[in-house]
């Protein structure tokens, strides 16, 4: 089973499926896309979803002294700035003040928050943590980034498998026969190289956002490819066909990039107002790619990756973290608004990942340190809004707290369950899901229920 994974699900290698016209595949009548927003550095989820109930907030401030704007000390969100969630699934909780627009969408049922999710191989708690299987390299950025992007831990040989994004796409391809003459924009990153989309058998498109892709001396080289396409040598013929395809398609890509009047571009830009950031740029590129998917000959299932850095907030966290979430609030709202204007709100789901959460208590530098469990956000028209997972009991000797540190909360929901819920929405059935996420069977609830179908 393990070795089969590296060549695709169920014995089909991704490369052979490239050739299939999908004669035995199910037909696909709709379009869906997943957009992964990776927060590099370890996002402090406990300052983004936090107590809105007075007594719980007081307890929170005892661990995280309130932020004082004059002295620039403290990391706790002041009580009067917490945006209360209210309603049946958020009575005592609220959002960080930066999440103004995300709160509005929460009210409309478009936002799910998955509480206390993190990298796990199997369920663990305080008393059995040291004897059960757990992710290795727990507080190391690189290792935990990889584990969250693979949904595999390296104690199981995870430094070797393809990313779960690539595995999901490969399984969808096996099921629906998405790739016919070659793979266009099936997996696209505007956030740089990443393991989530990495596969030894299929390339993802790592594209600079909103920039053209050019080939030199096209006037001279195009005839060469034409000669190669009629060669009797199979490698020469295949290379010529592929290059011709990329060059032709880059024309479509470049005209998309040059079109500043498309509805999606306009809706995004208008909604964002004057605000811009790397994240805005990347999500704008995703909107335009989705909008132009027919011209780009993209398949009916796409996975996109965007990323933000700066979340490793050991020092002077409050302002940095607030600004980062302000960017997420603004850019995600522009993104979802643009999708709504294209009538595609229910077909695209944006979700966050980060390598780990951060310590319950503030450190000596007005920041927080590496920990484990955190909260993640899922947004879009197909989301079944609300709170998922469960709150942690943070009393120092509770089963939810690590035996080696009272600042570290043990996740009660696994990255596998989180990812499998998203993959199920994209169209994978339980058999596919168990093949793509081998550790999923260690958990009682394979689908967390935060997506409509």
């Amino acid at each position: 089973m393990k070795t089969m994974l590296s060549s695709g699900v169920g014995g089909l290698s991704a490369s052979t499926v490239l050739l299939n016209s999908g004669a035995s595949a199910q037909s696909l009548s709709d379009y869906k896309a997943l957009v992964c927003l990776f927060l590099y550095g370890g996002n402090d989820g406990y300052n983004v979803l936090l107590p809105a109930d007075q007594s719980l907030h007081t307890q929170y401030l005892s661990m995280r002294p309130v932020y004082n704007a004059t002295s620039r000390t403290g990391v706790g969100v002041p009580f009067d700035q917490v945006i209360p969630l209210n309603g049946p699934s958020g009575q005592s909780l609220g959002f960080h003040p930066s999440l103004v627009r995300i709160k509005q969408r929460w009210t409309q049922g478009q936002v799910a928050v998955i509480q206390n999710v993190g990298n796990l191989v199997e369920p663990v708690s305080r008393s059995n943590l040291m004897v059960r299987q757990r992710p290795t390299g727990l507080f190391a950025h690189d290792e935990q980034q990889e584990i969250s992007m693979l949904a595999r831990s390296d104690s199981q040989g995870a430094g070797t498998e393809q990313g779960w994004g690539a595995s999901v796409w490969s399984a969808l391809n096996g099921k629906y026969g998405l790739a016919s003459a070659g793979v266009n924009f099936a997996m696209v990153s505007f956030g740089g190289a990443n393991r989530w989309q990495t596969s030894p058998l299929m390339l993802y498109d790592n594209l600079p956002p909103n920039q053209t892709l050019n080939f030199a001396h096209l006037d001279h080289t195009s005839g060469l490819l034409g000669l190669g396409q009629s060669s009797s040598q199979p490698y020469v013929r295949s290379y010529s066909n592929q290059l011709a395809h990329f060059q032709t398609q880059s024309t479509a890509l470049n005209s998309m990039v040059s079109n500043l009047n498309s509805p999606g571009y306009q809706a995004f830009a208008t909604t964002a107002g004057g605000q811009s950031s790397s994240l805005h740029n990347q999500l704008l590129a995703v909107v335009r790619a989705i909008e132009a998917r027919q011209q780009l000959q993209a398949p009916g299932r796409q996975i996109f990756f965007v990323g933000m850095g700066g979340f490793d907030t050991h020092v002077d966290q409050y302002l940095i973290h607030s600004q980062l979430w302000n960017q997420i609030d603004s850019a995600s709202h522009a993104f979802l608004t643009a999708l709504e204007s294209l009538g595609m709100a229910s077909q695209v789901t944006l979700f966050t990942m980060s390598e780990f959460g951060r310590s319950l208590r503030m450190n000596a530098s007005n920041g927080t340190d590496h920990a484990w469990s955190s909260h993640q956000w899922v947004m879009g028209g197909a989301v079944r809004g609300g709170l998922y997972g469960r709150a942690a009991d943070i009393t120092p000797t509770s089963e939810d707290v690590a035996p080696f540190s009272t600042d570290v909360v043990i996740p009660s929901t696994s990255i596998n369950q989180y990812a499998a819920t998203l993959a199920a929405w994209m169209g994978l059935n339980p058999t596919d899901l168990n093949a793509v996420f081998p550790d999923l069977r260690n958990f009682a609830q394979p689908n967390l229920g935060f997506m409509n179908s």
């Binding site: 001396h217 490698y235 592929q242």
Partner: protein, 560 residues
């Protein structure tokens, strides 16, 4: 299993080792294709070598043909040329400003500054960048060696081994020294014994960090290295015949080489090693961390209880090296890296037999790969797409150049093949990747790198390398090494460009591609060249540049 049977199993294992070390097969040592019944190989080896043939062979056995290497090969003939290359001692990757060893408390900056103070002509920023970050110095110096060092064939094999026994600078502490030492070890071992090589790899502190063997303890054996040792570095997931084809079970399915239980036992067998001095010393056994219980290996072999960490590792490596799947698995991949992506089963069988009859002698395996009819006189359907690293070094070596290697490091990175920076232990591409847009089911690993971004980048970099008068040295490159990169266009080529474009293209076809361009492609290129009128010196160089650009863009060149 009682103790007598355990003893028998160990004796049997040792007997197998002894027998193969004595060269149990009947084949003549190292003679390629000795059992072939068509006699062609003898003729190929004896006949004089044309310039075109020399060029084609050098694309397989070096990082690109030069005037000197073409002349040397034609003078010596294939066999003596190969033997001269096989006998050449390993060159050394430059270690200038690459000796920084980080202390174990990671954040210490002062020791880095103390190291860099040894180089007063370099800025602290440059030294820190060069000496510390894994993905600059070793990769750039690899290119420097590939471009100019004499042990070209050894470097090709070392580069191939680095794509099988992968260590990548992702997931590693950022210390350039470690990567340099690991790659130098591959270069030193490239013509040695495969089991010895696996032992060096298994004890490597860098590999120990990459695949978590370092400090793997009997209380919680880490499976990562054991699994990749089996899956990627030796037998492979599925059993192979000597000709590389998969063995099929009774139900027609492939046969798995090992079970999950065996992976666990291999993990247990490899516990108890730790790096004590990154990255200078091999890992050593530590404490009582080794699981000394009995374990089940492959093919009925086992490790009895009471063995030490060293004994266990030796038994493991003997077990996997001698397993019948290892010779075809490794031989086939080496053929793919040197000669062709889809060798015939008979070709694989010939090389595999040399591997198994010599206990994994990489020198003789390399010789068998290159001095084979399928390498010297390949069928038209054979081929491999030139990989980015070879594309870049070949351009410079073919024309003439000055380079410190850095521009090639940048270009290779944009094209998806930065040396020592594979995305995972599965390398940049899989040996099983199939040729797209074809029903032929041919293996074509390098095609896995083709995408919008990488092909656009290839086009842009080719343009930059050919059309720039000089690419300046990187500002953070050590001054003692920095020369920038530029091509040195031969005067004779410039003259021909001015006077005779068709003659230029014909000459370049021979000299750069080894005569692989068809007549209509040559005609096409000559026609394009002639759109530039040709008498002034600036026009001559523009003609020459366009000719070389078009040749290096031709599918018939790129598929070697």
């Amino acid at each position: 299993m009682d103790s007598w049977n355990r003893c028998k199993a160990v004796l049997l294992l040792l007997a197998c080792v002894l027998l193969t070390a004595c060269g149990g097969s009947g084949g003549t040592e190292g003679r390629a294709n000795a059992d072939s019944d068509d006699g062609t190989i003898a003729g190929l080896l004896a006949a004089p070598i044309t310039e075109a043939q020399a060029v084609r062979f050098l694309w397989k056995s070096s990082f690109g043909p030069t005037t000197e290497s073409i002349a040397r090969l034609r003078q010596l003939g294939y066999a003596r040329f190969v033997d001269e290359q096989l006998a050449m001692p390993a060159g050394v990757y430059s270690d200038y400003m690459l000796g920084y060893i980080a202390p174990t408390n990671v954040a210490a900056v002062e020791p880095r500054e103390a190291y860099c103070a040894q180089f007063p002509t370099e800025t602290m920023t440059a030294c820190t960048y060069w000496a510390y970050w894994t993905n600059s110095g070793p990769s750039t110096n690899f290119f420097k060696s590939a471009l100019t060092d004499s042990d070209q064939l050894r470097l090709r094999v070392a580069w191939a081994l680095s794509q099988i026994l992968v260590v990548s600078n992702s997931l590693l502490p950022k210390e350039a020294y470690g990567m340099r030492l690991y790659q130098q070890m591959l270069r030193d071992q490239a013509f040695g014994n495969y089991k010895t090589l696996l032992e060096r790899v298994s004890k490597s502190p860098l590999m120990g960090a990459y695949l978590n063997l370092d400090s793997s303890h009997k209380d919680a054996p880490n499976q990562n290295y054991a699994r990749e040792l089996l899956q990627l570095f030796s037998v492979g997931a599925f059993a192979r015949n000597p000709d590389g084809t998969f063995k099929l079970g009774a139900n027609g399915n492939r046969v798995e080489n090992y079970t999950q239980e065996q992976v666990r036992d291999f993990s247990r067998a490899l516990t108890g090693w730790r790096a004590n001095q990154r990255w200078v010393r091999d890992m050593e056994p530590f404490g009582d961390a080794h699981d000394s219980g009995s374990k089940v290996l492959l093919n009925g072999a086992s490790i009895p209880a009471g063995t030490s960490a060293s004994q266990a590792m030796s038994l493991v490596l003997t077990n996997v090296t001698q397993h019948p799947s290892t010779a075809p698995n490794i031989s086939r991949q080496l053929i793919q890296f040197l000669v062709t992506s889809h060798p015939s089963p008979a070709y694989v069988a010939r090389v595999s037999r040399v591997f198994s009859s010599t206990g994994g002698d990489l020198r003789l395996v390399t010789r068998a790969i290159l001095l084979d009819t399928e390498a010297l006189n390949p069928p038209e359907q054979n081929g491999k797409l030139i990989e980015p690293v070879l594309f870049l070094t070949g351009l410079l070596r073919s024309v003439g150049f000055v380079s410190d290697g850095y521009a090639l490091d940048q270009a290779a990175s944009a094209m998806g093949q930065r040396p020592f920076a594979a995305p995972s232990v599965f390398n940049y591409y899989s040996p099983e990747f199939e040729l797209p847009l074809s029903s032929r089911k041919l293996k074509a690993p390098q095609f896995a790198l083709l995408g919008f971004q990488s092909t656009s980048a290839k086009s842009q970099w080719l343009n930059t390398l050919i059309y720039s008068d000089a690419i300046p040295a990187h500002s953070l490159m050590p001054k003692a090494l920095a020369t920038g990169t530029r091509l040195l266009w031969p005067d004779a080529w410039l003259d021909l460009a001015g006077s005779n474009p068709m003659g230029l293209v014909a000459m370049l076809d021979t000299r750069l591609t080894g005569g692989t361009l068809s007549a209509n492609v040559k005609q096409y290129i000559a026609t394009r060249v002639q759109t530039i009128s040709g008498s002034s010196s600036s026009q001559k160089i523009e003609r020459l540049r366009l000719a070389v650009f078009l040749i290096f863009s031709s599918p018939q060149f790129l598929v070697r």
